[in-house]
């Protein structure tokens, strides 16, 4: 496009330098100090903070986060792809309608949604009360276990997976599929050789969009895991809440490195650098 428009982006670059890049550098610096908040009164230079990485809780929390994020992302890919594919095949004219229906649940508060899910995962819940079901005294619900956390993540983040896949599918020229069918391959081969590879970009984008909030989130594991499952997000939150920004930054940087790795992965598939949609 006309070069004269490129000045429109300059203020944004400055904005990003101030609000995104500078804090990232600042956080990196915080890792090496020991102080309360950003109070410089009792500041001291230290490598003590790195001991935090050796704590069993940190290690297990990181592993937990990875495990749950990977599992949830995998499940989301499976469910999300099928849903997106069928929505695409059903030739709904109004893309905006699909988008809105998928995104609408998010207009309801995340905490309330998660607590509602936690409630119905218990043996005694609102439905047993509503329908006067007598629950056995030793009945056990799924809340508090690994399954509950995975279900919660999938239920919450699934739209982030469906949307990019659906967008990627929409962009495929229908002529390509027709050509493939005309040239004698059946529908399964067409899907495998034409549709799937072309929609892979959406899958990668969706995976990142699901994986990242799973990695850093703390509300879902806290509520659905009934506090038994510790994730790295919980630990980061604890430290920032207690004004220990130093260890908080350290752990946040660890996650940031994982995130940058995933951006690199995305860039490999997505040469334009357009994540999300």
């Amino acid at each position: 496009m006309n070069k004269r428009f490129q000045k429109l982006a300059t203020p944004y670059l400055i904005w990003l330098y101030i609000l995104a890049l500078f804090p990232a550098v600042f956080m990196f610096g915080l890792m090496f100090f020991n102080m309360e908040g950003i109070d410089t009164d009792e500041i001291s230079f230290t490598f003590e903070n790195f001991k935090q990485l050796a704590e069993p809780s940190t290690r297990i929390a990181l592993l937990n986060s990875l495990k749950f994020s990977v599992l949830s992302t995998a499940l989301c890919i499976l469910l999300g792809y099928i849903t997106a594919y069928f929505l695409y095949k059903s030739h709904i004219q109004n893309k905006f309608l699909v988008l809105t229906i998928l995104i609408l649940p998010m207009w309801s508060n995340l905490l309330l949604r998660t607590q509602a899910l936690a409630n119905i995962m218990e043996p005694n819940n609102i439905f047993t009360s509503l329908f006067h079901i007598q629950v056995k005294e030793d009945a056990v619900g799924i809340a508090g276990g690994d399954l509950a956390v995975i279900i919660g993540s999938v239920f919450t983040y699934l739209p982030f997976m469906i949307l990019p896949i659906y967008t990627a599918l929409e962009k495929i020229d229908p002529m390509l599929e027709e050509a493939s069918l005309d040239l004698g391959s059946n529908e399964f081969t067409t899907f495998r050789r034409v549709t799937l590879p072309l929609s892979l970009k959406g899958v990668v984008t969706g995976s990142v969009m699901v994986f990242l909030p799973c990695m850093s989130g703390f509300a879902i594991p806290e509520i659905l895991g009934k506090g038994n499952i510790v994730m790295i997000g919980n630990i980061i939150e604890q430290f920032f809440k207690n004004m220990n920004y130093n260890i908080g930054s350290l752990l946040a940087i660890v996650i940031l490195i994982l995130i940058l790795a995933s951006i690199a992965l995305v860039n490999k598939f997505d040469k334009d650098g357009e994540t999300v949609l």
Binding site: E36, P56, P123, G227, N228, N242, M243
Partner: protein, 401 residues
């Protein structure tokens, strides 16, 4: 052409920012900024105060003492009043974040009107924080206890007979299949293990930390939670948990308002002899901008009727004897309160139930009692930030073990 473009965008950026700033600076009415716990004040009082003193009261909320501290320390807002608990008042004072309260501006505050429990808490606090009295005005107070499911066979007997902590940490002493919950604040979890070992919760050493970790690991808690615990016990999904007595009373009030008679309530609380006692206080930060208004507000809230009304919205106890007496002697209460606490909003027999709850769960010590008050106040005097980090890590390690 390029120049015009660039300027237009920059100009519009600047313009928006200027508009936003000017929007905020136009509040000329006196404004009182309060940082409080969620739903921890009777809104009717706030409205009445606004009318009487021609000001606006704006209340922000936070859900832990640590967040109160973070908010005051970071200075992003110059709050005029904050409601931290005892140990956090001490910490704020030590960091120079508070200003002394001018008691000459509080004609309605009478220190001798405080309940014995509150006096005991202040005395405990003064051991490490001698200036306490000059910096705080009690707001509400309470204890922690072990809430349990009465429908679980044999549980109530064990808890009462063994006096709380032993069965709480040893599942083999409890009836089979008892589900136990712990309050998900590392500092509180640590304190419970110290009570179990009959030690002070305010000491942190390597030995106590590792002992505490062992106890917490052996406890095999089914749930770590905060406000969820009481709901879980009320619905029968959990049988035993450590929590604020006020949390328990909140749940009790909800059940009573839902129409369950008092003798059919499925849960109760046992308050062990050694437990956490806490007191939330009105304090004025050093950076407060409306100090006079803050004093007026404090003076308003400590008046007998206001304290009475304020205590009605929460399960915690008023610190004032006069208000306490009003609650307890509900039969001789003024007609207007019976009208205020109408059946639609408060359920049947609210005044009677409220009186029962206060007398049962926040009892006045009898003159014959040997020790007048048994709770322990948490103190941060001897605890460094490193100690707090260690407690947090210890509890996390116990969870993942």
């Amino acid at each position: 052409m390029k120049w015009v473009w660039r300027h237009q965008l920059i100009c519009s950026f600047i313009l928006t920012i200027v508009v936003i700033f000017s929007l905020t600076s136009c509040s000329t009415r006196r404004q009182l900024l309060i940082l409080n716990w969620g739903e921890y004040i009777n809104d009717d009082l706030v409205t009445a105060f606004e009318k009487e003193y021609n000001c606006t009261v704006s209340i922000s909320i936070a859900e832990s003492n640590e967040l109160f501290y973070a908010k005051i320390k970071s200075g992003t807002t110059a709050y005029d009043l904050v409601v931290p608990s005892d140990y956090m008042v001490e910490k704020m004072y030590n960091k120079g974040l508070l200003q002394p309260i001018d008691f000459t501006k509080l004609p309605d505050y009478h220190e001798d009107d405080l309940l014995p429990g509150v006096k005991a808490i202040i005395e405990q606090l003064e051991l490490t924080f001698p200036e306490a009295r000059a910096y705080l005005v009690p707001y509400l107070w309470g204890t922690f206890g072990l809430m349990y499911n009465k429908n679980k066979k044999g549980l109530e007997e064990v808890i009462v007979e063994k006096e709380g902590w032993d069965p709480y940490f040893n599942k083999e002493l409890l009836p089979k299949g008892t589900k136990v919950g712990m309050y998900n604040v590392p500092r509180f979890a640590y304190a419970t293990t110290m009570f179990y070992q009959e030690k002070s919760p305010n000491i942190v050493t390597d030995e106590t930390l590792s002992a505490s970790k062992k106890i917490l690991t052996n406890g095999k808690f089914d749930q770590w939670g905060t406000d969820q615990l009481k709901k879980q016990i009320a619905s029968g999904n959990l049988d035993l948990a450590f929590m604020y007595t006020g949390d328990f009373l909140d749940q009790l009030y909800i059940e009573l308002q839902g129409g369950t008679p008092l003798d059919e309530i499925s849960f109760d609380i046992y308050i062990p002899e050694a437990t956490i006692a806490f007191m939330d206080n009105l304090v004025i930060p050093k950076k407060a901008r409306h100090v006079d208004l803050a004093h007026e507000f404090i003076n308003y809230m400590v008046q007998k009727e206001q304290a009475y009304l304020n205590a009605s919205v929460v399960g915690y106890c008023t610190p004032y004897q006069s208000a306490y007496d009003m609650i307890v002697n509900y039969e001789i209460v003024d007609e207007k309160w019976i009208e205020y606490f109408n059946e639609d909003d408060y359920g049947k027999d609210w005044l009677k139930n409220w009186s029962y709850a206060m007398q049962t769960y926040y009892p006045l010590p009898k003159p014959t009692d040997e020790i007048q008050f048994r709770g322990t106040v948490l103190s941060n005097k001897n605890l460094t930030n490193q100690d707090l980090t260690r407690i947090t890590n210890m509890v996390n390690n116990a969870k993942v073990a």
